[in-house]
Structures are given as C-alpha cells and as structure tokens.
C-alpha cells in the first residue's frame, strides 16, 4: 500500500458548523431538519451573493437559486475526509461544507483564484473549464485508495458539461478502475442559453451510465430527501469498492446563468415560474410541518441564522483584504526561475489592489 503524505486523516471538517454540517450517522429526522436549515441558509447566502454582484462587490455570480436540494443533498452525504469537485455554480455547496463564505466568493470577487484551502477543506477550487475537474476527482480517488484511505470524490457538473470529451473520458476511467467517485449531474435544463434538447438526444443523461458499465439513476433534484438518499447510496457504494455512479438530478436554473445574463432572450418566463412551484425549500418545509418537525418558531430561528450568515457574508466579502502584486509570483513555481525572479523584483513590489 502506498505511503502518501496525503491530505486526509481526521474526520473533522475545519470551519464546519452544526448550522450546515450533516453526518451520515444522523437519524432521518435530524437529516431532514439539518438539510432544510442548510437549504434556507444556502439560499439566503446565494441571494446575498447575487446582491453583492449587482452592487459591484463581486465581479460576477452564477446563482444556484432553485438547485438547493442538489447543492445541500450532495455535500450532506459526504464525510469530512471525502473530496468535493465543484463548478462555478456550486458556491452554495461549498459553504455548506463549512468553507468560509468570503473565501468561497474570492474568485467571484475578482480576488485570488481560490480563496480557501482546498487541502484543508477537501474542496477543489471552483472549476470553470467545463468537465475538466472530473478526471481530477478520478485520479484523487484512485490515489486515496492506493493510500488505503476510504475517501470518496464527488464531481458536480451541469447538463451541458456532459457533452464535453473530458466528461466521457473521466467517467470511463472511473468505471474501468472502479474508482470511488460519484458524478452528480445537476440537470438544470440549460447550458447558458442552450436547452437540454439541443445538448443531447438521449431520453436522459442517466442513460449514459450503461455505456460505461456503471449504475445510473435519474432523480428529482428538487427533493432533498431523494437527492440525499441517492447520494448516500452512491457514496457508500463507491466507498465499499463498488465503483462510480452517475446521478442525474433534474432541477432548474431559476435565475439567469450569471448576473450578467438575460434569460428572456432565450426562454419563456412562464417556464421559470412553473418551476418556482416545485421549489425545493417550500416542498421540504411543507413535509416537515406536516410531520410536526417544523413550526413558526423554528422557522424564525432558522431565518435568523440565515440572516446572520448572509450578513457575515456581506461584511466579510466587503472587508476582504485585497491581493497584492507580489502574490502573482509567489506560487507560480516552488522556486522562481531566473527570468521570473527578475520580474518579481521589478513588478512584484508594487502595492495591492485599489
């Protein structure tokens, strides 16, 4: 067995808070309640980020409003030692893992590319080149297995990303090596302006799974319990050596692609309205109330926590220290090559950002 001075070990997620962290060891009620709470907080965070973008505090923000059940359901099934490979769309999932909200938004603030420590948080940087992080997850999971760790890697990607060659190669590699990876495709109906029907002619994206010889499931991505159950099953299958699973979660991008996008150019608002009626938070809220697990007092308490989290997000994003020119040179290489050392001397001195 390999002796990797790898990054995992403890089952404790730094920065993880009871507010958001779920553990597979919890009973069902706790899971539903925590999940509900995390979705409410997550949405509030997402709305705050959208506001910050509109107000110019963020360079851009791709909202996952409406995809809360996917975002929270995905990370809720993970141990602290498991790795998450998110996209630009998945900030809500990242904070739900316990990553500091301002650090989560650093990239989108036009600040350093990745603001959090991926090693400490077992959360890869937001990936923008579509589907390219999928093979990273496969390799990481294989290395973890070689090291004798029971780490599972979860890839988040969108429906459009499944058309990329990188997606195909990564899923096939994971299948052939039975790597402990779960691919969660958040099928939110659109790739920027392009609807799913122009992305694939397949009945479903889950239908790709048999072509790789792995299990594939299509689930209701707006139903937290269903996402959580499917993710937990897939994660534990992978952990047990059963190889990868492809999960297609049907959801909807209620908002624009990013704050810069105008969906009215390519889709009918009625469609979005219809989906608002399938809102994942309202749905779980109703279930919880029906089961007597949620009442107004608890809802108020949760809302208060959400407000506090959103306020912290706003405050810390705005106060976040600006990067300095010196940082451009600090991490290009372990040691600067001569031609770069010269430049660091000349241009690495100038102060930080305006």
């Amino acid at each position: 067995m390999l002796n990797l001075d790898h990054l995992n070990g403890s089952d404790h997620m730094p920065g993880s808070t009871a507010a958001t962290a779920l553990s597979v060891r919890d009973d069902e009620e706790t899971i539903l309640l925590r999940g509900y709470r995390a979705m409410v907080i997550g949405r509030r965070f997402d709305q705050q980020a959208t506001n910050l973008a509109k107000q110019g505090y963020l360079a851009v923000y791709p909202s996952s409003y409406g995809q809360e059940a996917c975002q929270i359901g995905a990370v809720s099934a993970l141990r602290a030692t498991d790795w998450l490979f998110p996209t630009y769309r998945d900030s809500m999932a990242i904070v739900t893992r316990g990553v500091d909200p301002a650090q989560t938004l650093t990239l989108l603030r036009g600040d350093w590319h990745c603001g959090y420590d991926p090693a400490a948080t077992r959360t890869a940087p937001h990936c923008t080149p579509l589907a390219t992080q999928a093979s990273h997850a496969v390799g990481l999971a294989m290395a973890a297995r070689l090291a004798g760790d029971d780490t599972v890697a979860v890839v988040l990607c969108g429906d459009g990303s499944t058309s990329e060659g990188d997606f195909h190669e990564a899923v096939n590699l994971a299948a052939v090596f039975a790597a402990p990876v779960v691919f969660l495709v958040q099928n939110n109906g659109y790739a920027i302006s392009v609807p799913l029907a122009k992305q694939t002619r397949a009945r479903s994206l889950a239908a790709k799974a048999p072509g790789y010889g792995i299990p594939g499931v299509q689930i209701d991505g707006n139903d937290l319990p269903e996402v959580y159950a499917a993710m937990t099953a897939a994660v534990e299958l992978a952990r047990g050596g059963g190889g990868p699973t492809l999960i297609e979660a049907i959801t909807y991008r209620v908002g624009p692609h990013t704050n810069a996008d105008d969906p009215s150019r390519y889709r009918d608002e009625a469609e979005a309205l219809a989906w608002r009626r399938k809102d994942p938070i309202d749905r779980l809220g109703a279930t919880l109330r029906a089961r007597g697990l949620l009442d107004d007092d608890l809802q108020q308490a949760i809302d208060a926590d959400a407000e506090e989290f959103a306020a912290r997000t706003r405050r810390t994003v705005i106060e976040y220290p600006a990067p300095t020119a010196a940082e451009m040179f600090a991490h290009v290489y372990a040691a600067l090559p001569p031609h770069l050392a010269e430049q660091a001397d000349r241009y690495g001195r100038e102060g930080g950002a305006a």
């Binding site: 036009g110 350093w112 923008t128 579509l130 790739a191 920027i192 392009v194 992305q199 940082e327 950002a353």
Partner: protein
C-alpha cells in the same frame, strides 16, 4: 463560388458610430449574404447571439441551418467545421473564450492546419475560428488568456487579429473569403471601442502590416489589444521628445517582414508590445526576425514589453500584469541607453 455582392448590398449605408462587436456582427451578416456557403455555429451563438452578442440576429435572419447552437464540445465543433469545409462549406465557428479553445487544440494543429498539405491540395479547410481573447475586462480565471503564440508556431494556419473597428470588419470579411484556415483573434477589451465609419469598409489585405503612426526615433511593433496602449505610449513619448513609430501587425501569420523592417531600419530602435506573457511569446519571433534582418541598423537590442511570465492574474491584479505606458516608456528609454 458565389460572387461577393456584399459591398454593393450595403453600399448605401451611411457613416455611423460602430463598435467592434457591431462591426464583426455586420461582417458576419455581409459574409452570409454574399456567400450562401458561409455557416456559423458554436456555443450560444444562435438564439442568444453569443455571450458577447457578436452573432446577434444572425440565426433569426439566416435561419437555424446557417447559424446554430451546438452542444458544448469544442473539439467536436472544430472537427465538424473541418468536415463541412472539406465538403465545400465556409464554416465560421466561435470559441466562447480564449482558454475554451484549448480542447480543440488537437483538431486545430493536427487537422485544420494540415489537411491541405496532407492531401496535396485535394482538400482544403477554409474555416474561420473566432477566438475572443485577452484580458483587461475584469473576468475570472481562464477568461483572459492571450493564446495566439500557441498557434503561430504551426504551419498551415493564418493568425489574424484586428486592433481597429474597420479592421475587425475588413479582416474578417477577407478571412471568410480566403482559401486557408484562419484563427481570428478578437481583442475582447476592444469589443466596445467605436469608430465613425460606413460599412462595408475595404482594408489592407491580410498579411500587410500597417504603420499606424510614423516616427523616426523608435518603432513600436504591436497588434490586437495592445495597439491603443502603444499609441498612448507614443503620445506620451512625444512629450518626452521621442518621435515614435507604431506598426500594427494585423496578421502574425503571414508576417509582414518588409513593413516592419522598413520602419525599424529607419528608426534603428524597436520595442515589441503585446499582452501575452513574454517568454516564448510571439514577441520573441518578432525580435529574433527583425534582428536577423536589420542587425546592422540596430542601435540597441529589440526590447519586449509584454504581460508578465505568470498565469493571468485575477481582475484585481490585472493592471500589474498587463503592459503599461510606463513600462513602454522605460523600454524606449532603454533603447537610448537612458536607464
């Protein structure tokens, strides 16, 4: 080939304030009017009109058959364009951002560039690959790369990059008419710059560099997004008493050695300015080539003012990475030994 009637079609158009985006959009429209073999496709270029609105209105006007959205598959898009061109079409494809053309690298290097050569001219691939490139627009990582130097090294490709609104129109029309594949690098940061002009405009042919500003003391050799900067530096240098020439390459391949060397032999001093990292950048080829040709006229080594040799930084640090008027002035001074 259907004759190019666009120039007559739009000749009645009046002078107007035109942005580079609009000029490119108009060039695409006119090209599609002029030649029904011209087909446009890529990610979000249809109904949305592209993330930069460059293809706005084309699918509405020409139909989904001639301007359409594709699945997200850059290698596949490039390969499909190659196949279409082989059959006689004139595909124009958009890579949404510089760094998102990288998945198509193999198709560009191993097929697009080589098909004519491989088949002794029996097949050709007159594909235009539009690549919005460069920084200065406050975008997150992978959205500001200057990737031209990855392409200039490969025989078989034409590498074209406009720096003015009229060139954006004129060079693109020429690229689409041409017989060879063209990587058409569009400087994002200049997308919203405007010119007063009447379209269509005729411009110097691809392969011809243009002296944007004559000068006797030192020659700035530049292209694409760096031209306005070079002109600003030339103005600033004038105040310091230097008469600075500015040459806009317009196409990196073919490279207009004659125009560049004429300017440099006159001034005896030269500085290459581009946004991409300097190490292994196109400025190296320019400096090496000019030095080979003009060595005996050179009073000082050709200097390079470029992006730093680090990954493109986040928006808040862009201004430290990018060439500045100050760095160009320093380089000019250096060629005079003043520093």
């Amino acid at each position: 080939m259907t004759t190019d009637v666009a120039s007559t079609v739009d000749v009645k158009q009046r002078v107007a304030t035109v942005s580079m985006v609009k000029a490119i959009n108009t060039a695409l429209r006119d090209a599609m009017l002029a030649d029904d073999r011209v087909v446009m496709f890529g990610e979000d270029v249809g109904r949305l009109g592209g993330v930069f609105r460059v293809t706005e209105g084309l699918s509405a006007r020409f139909g989904d058959e001639r301007c359409f959205d594709t699945p997200i598959a850059e290698a596949g898009i490039l390969g499909a364009a190659i196949g279409m061109a082989v059959y006689g079409a004139r595909p124009v494809v958009e890579m949404q951002f510089d760094a998102f053309a990288y998945p198509a690298f193999e198709q560009i290097i191993s097929h697009l560039a080589k098909m004519r050569n491989r088949t002794r001219g029996a097949l050709s691939t007159p594909v235009v690959v539009r690549v919005p490139y460069g920084g200065g627009i406050g975008a997150v990582e992978h959205h500001s790369d200057s990737s031209e130097a990855y392409m200039t090294h490969t025989p078989g490709l034409h590498i074209v990059t406009p720096a003015t609104v009229s060139d954006a129109y004129g060079l693109l029309r020429q690229a689409i008419r041409g017989a060879d594949p063209v990587l058409f690098f569009e400087p994002k940061r200049l997308y919203w710059d405007t010119e007063e002009l009447a379209l269509p405009v005729e411009v110097e042919p691809i392969g011809r560099a243009v002296v944007r500003r004559p000068g006797t003391d030192v020659t700035l050799i530049t292209y694409g997004p760096a031209l306005p900067l070079a002109l600003a530096a030339a103005d600033a240098a004038a105040e310091a008493g230097y008469d600075v020439a500015v040459v806009d390459l317009r196409s990196l391949v073919p490279f207009d050695e004659d125009t560049v060397c004429d300017a440099v032999t006159k001034t005896g001093r030269a500085v290459v300015v581009h946004e991409a990292s300097g190490f292994g950048g196109f400025g190296a080829e320019v400096a090496a080539r000019v030095t080979e040709r003009c060595f005996n006229y050179l009073e000082a080594p050709v200097r390079r003012v470029t992006g730093l040799d680090v990954p493109y930084p986040p928006p808040q640090l862009e201004r430290f990475y990018l060439p500045t008027v100050g760095r160009i002035l320093d380089a000019i001074a250096t060629t005079f030994g003043d520093s």
